[in-house]
């Protein structure tokens, strides 16, 4: 068996190792595939669907689909751009994302993705869900109004921290993140140094005492759009 697989993304030839996902191979090749739930150090589970690409004519999530020899992948197409815009748009209206006073503004992957995809205002009507805010932990502030159910905190707490502080409860539109305590985050054994405290892509899990400390112009996505770090590898 060859130790190298060759396939194409948008007509560009990409080399990959067997067992790699399309996302991993694309990242190494400096091709950015938009994503919100995927984080290299966590198990990929393809929940946000933003990384959906067309593989040999069929939609697949790039973060979970292994590469195969001769595979033809479409990523940067008008059709997929529209698809991703719709997904991100729905994430915005399903929560209460008030960027203007959110402490993650400028460092938020959802906001940065919206800018990258050219979304200036949602086209769908807002749901205005009634979501709780949990500030009971002395070092961490949990704001479920901004949660996009990416599952990063669930995986990080279970697989890396070995604590299982977070989990999903409910189904469909009522699905939400819950903590493994009858009460609140402050009653769990979560620590601010846990991996789960630093993987949230939005302003849902925040470390207290850090809000607004980075001035405008120096925030993660102030100067360059999300994905620039990957594209710079080219």
């Amino acid at each position: 068996m060859s130790d190298q697989i060759t396939f194409t993304i948008d007509g560009v030839e990409v080399k990959a190792k067997p067992g790699q996902t399309i996302m991993q191979a694309a990242d190494e090749a400096g091709i950015y595939i938009p994503r919100l739930c995927y984080l290299p150090e966590l198990t990929a589970h393809g929940s946000c669907r933003v990384c959906t690409v067309i593989v040999n004519g069929k939609p697949q999530t790039a973060c979970t689909q292994p590469v195969a020899e001769g595979m033809i992948v479409e990523n940067d197409t008008p059709e997929l751009l529209e698809h991703r815009r719709n997904l991100v748009d729905m994430l915005f209206v399903e929560g209460n994302h008030l960027c203007m006073f959110c402490e993650r503004s400028g460092n938020c992957e959802l906001q940065a993705m919206a800018y990258r995809l050219g979304i200036l205002a949602p086209k769908y009507p807002y749901f205005y869900p009634d979501k709780p805010l949990d500030s009971t932990h002395k070092d961490i502030f949990l704001e479920l109004n901004r949660c996009i159910l990416c599952g990063r905190c669930v995986n990080a707490s279970a697989d890396i921290d070995g604590k299982g502080v977070f989990g999903f409860v409910g189904r469909s539109i009522d699905k939400k993140i819950a903590v493994n305590s009858d009460k609140n985050l402050g009653d769990t054994n979560m620590a601010v140094t846990d991996k789960a405290a630093s993987v949230c892509p939005v302003g849902s899990i925040n470390k207290k005492g850090t809000a607004f400390k980075i001035p405008y112009g120096q925030r993660l996505y102030d100067q360059k759009p999300i994905g620039s770090d990957i594209e710079n590898k080219k």
């Binding site: 402490e103 869900p129 805010l133 500030s135 539109i173 009522d174 207290k208 607004f212 405008y216």
Partner: protein, 478 residues
């Protein structure tokens, strides 16, 4: 599905841009009472409850797009107390001051050049079609350009200190999130002389206009009133920080050097059913006569001196008009505002030349407290922010007394005075009355005029009621 009920608040009910005035007549058709209604309902004090305290300086500044810096800083000062900080580092304090003087400079310039100058340059009764900023730009192009450039200068200072020209994040509980780079400083120093010159000429226009028309302006919309502001410990004007001083119309101190965290012992807010705006009054004087004025006129009246040379010289000239007694001429607000404009640029110059602005010690930490009060002298007057939090850092109580609210009763008095001069036995609303009410209200630079007068039009509805409460006339000016 979620059981949450969706309540839609239509923009038209949330922000009403019209000034609404009711005039109540007595049996002889003389004006008995004037009511300046504020029908906007904002609800900030309620809907920030439950939010974490560190969001508040960034959140509440959304109250306003004209002077958000004032709300940002007043809230940040309250949050300093919440995080147990009584003294900021020199860099943090001076960066905040620079932000504030930049705000004062741009706001005063905007009001003078673009909002009030049409009244002064063309006369109160000039055709509204020319009595607007476009009219000024056509007839006095230099003035219009100065207004734009001065506003830009102040806005750029805000951007350099708060991160954005509108709704920045610079002030954080216990300090600031950036210093001023040498490059930023030098950019501002390049234009400072021009700003001095234009400030001096704007002050001259306001002063000459007031002095030359003193006979006409002295009675116009004027009345004796108390005045309130923050004051520095040595009695100097201080727009960023100080203690509370209130004086009566003759200059006698009602209270002095009051620690503003104890404001509730001195100021009471009364609610009236016909306005969303509350009516604050000085407790020891009582609800009938305890109302007061705030803003540039009040600050000139309360302070013992101004600590910058050019503004101090101008203050002495200003006070000489009333022989050192408090000036109660409503239209003198404009002159006082321009003295503060000059003071602001002098302060900006001092700060830009202070090396502390390049310091790196930005934030102080302290022991958490559960209550914080922050006051500041906003362009329109004293601004109160008061918050309480719970053990989880969430806001449980917020009380804001904004500058325009402090001037609430003064609006009514000014409108009543103007109306009484126009309606004397004949129950009719004339064009002249509408124009004069507009000019009187604008002297205070309330947010309303800022929001709606930019094109020379302040939508205004005046309704006349007879002594039995029946509507007998109304006139709307779009």
């Amino acid at each position: 599905m979620s059981q949450t009920k969706r309540v839609v608040i239509e923009p038209v009910t949330r922000v009403e841009g019209h000034g609404k005035v009711s005039l109540l007549l007595d049996e002889n058709n003389k004006v008995k009472q004037a009511r300046f209604h504020v029908v906007e309902f904002r609800g900030f004090e309620r809907f920030i409850q439950g939010r974490p305290y560190w969001e508040v300086p960034v959140l509440v500044q959304r109250l306003c797009g004209i002077c958000p810096v004032s709300h940002h800083l007043a809230a940040a000062k309250a949050m300093d107390k919440i995080v147990g900080v009584d003294k900021l580092t020199p860099t943090a304090e001076k960066m905040r001051r620079l932000m504030h003087y930049g705000q004062m400079f741009q706001s005063h310039a905007l009001h003078f050049f673009h909002l009030c100058s049409p009244d002064l340059l063309f006369g109160f009764d000039a055709d509204p079609a020319i009595r607007n900023v476009i009219g000024v730009a056509l007839k006095y192009p230099d003035l219009a350009v100065q207004g734009v450039m001065m506003r830009k200068y102040g806005q750029e200072i805000i951007r350099a200190t708060a991160g954005k020209k509108i709704h920045g994040t610079g002030a954080i509980p216990g300090g600031i999130n950036k210093n001023l780079s040498i490059a930023e400083r030098d950019e501002f120093l390049k234009d400072i002389k021009q700003m001095y010159d234009w400030s001096k000429s704007a002050l001259k226009i306001a002063k000459d206009y007031t002095v030359q028309n003193l006979e006409k302006l002295t009675p116009f919309a004027s009345f004796d009133s108390s005045h309130l502001s923050l004051i520095r410990e040595d009695g100097a004007m201080d727009l960023y920080h100080g203690n509370l001083r209130a004086i009566d119309s003759q200059g006698k101190k009602i209270f002095d050097q009051v620690d503003y965290s104890k404001y509730l012992d001195y100021i009471v807010e009364e609610v009236k059913p016909w306005s969303y705006m509350k009516f604050p009054f000085i407790k020891q004087v009582g609800p009938q006569d305890g109302w007061y004025r705030v803003g540039p006129l009040a600050r000139l009246n309360t302070c013992d001196f101004i600590d910058t040379p050019l503004a101090e010289e101008a203050r002495k000239e200003f006070m000489a008009v009333t022989n050192g007694k408090p000036n109660n001429i409503t239209m003198a607000y404009h002159w006082a505002r321009m003295i503060e404009l000059l003071h602001s640029i002098e302060k900006i110059n001092d700060l830009l030349n202070d090396k502390d602005l390049q310091g790196n010690d930005l934030v102080v930490k302290g022991q958490k407290r559960y209550e914080g009060v922050g006051l500041i002298e906003a362009p329109r007057g004293t601004l109160f922010h008061h918050y309480k939090i719970d053990e989880n850092d969430q806001i449980t109580m917020a009380n804001l007394i904004v500058s325009t609210t402090n001037n609430n009763e003064a609006f009514n008095r000014s409108v009543q005075k103007v109306a009484a001069d126009h309606i004397d036995g004949v129950a009719k609303i004339t064009e002249g009355l509408l124009n004069h009410i507009e000019v009187a209200i604008r002297a205070y630079d309330p947010c309303l005029s800022c929001a709606t007068h930019a094109m020379g039009k302040m939508p205004l509805k005046v309704t006349l009621y007879d002594y039995q409460g029946n509507e007998i006339d109304n006139k709307t000016k779009e």
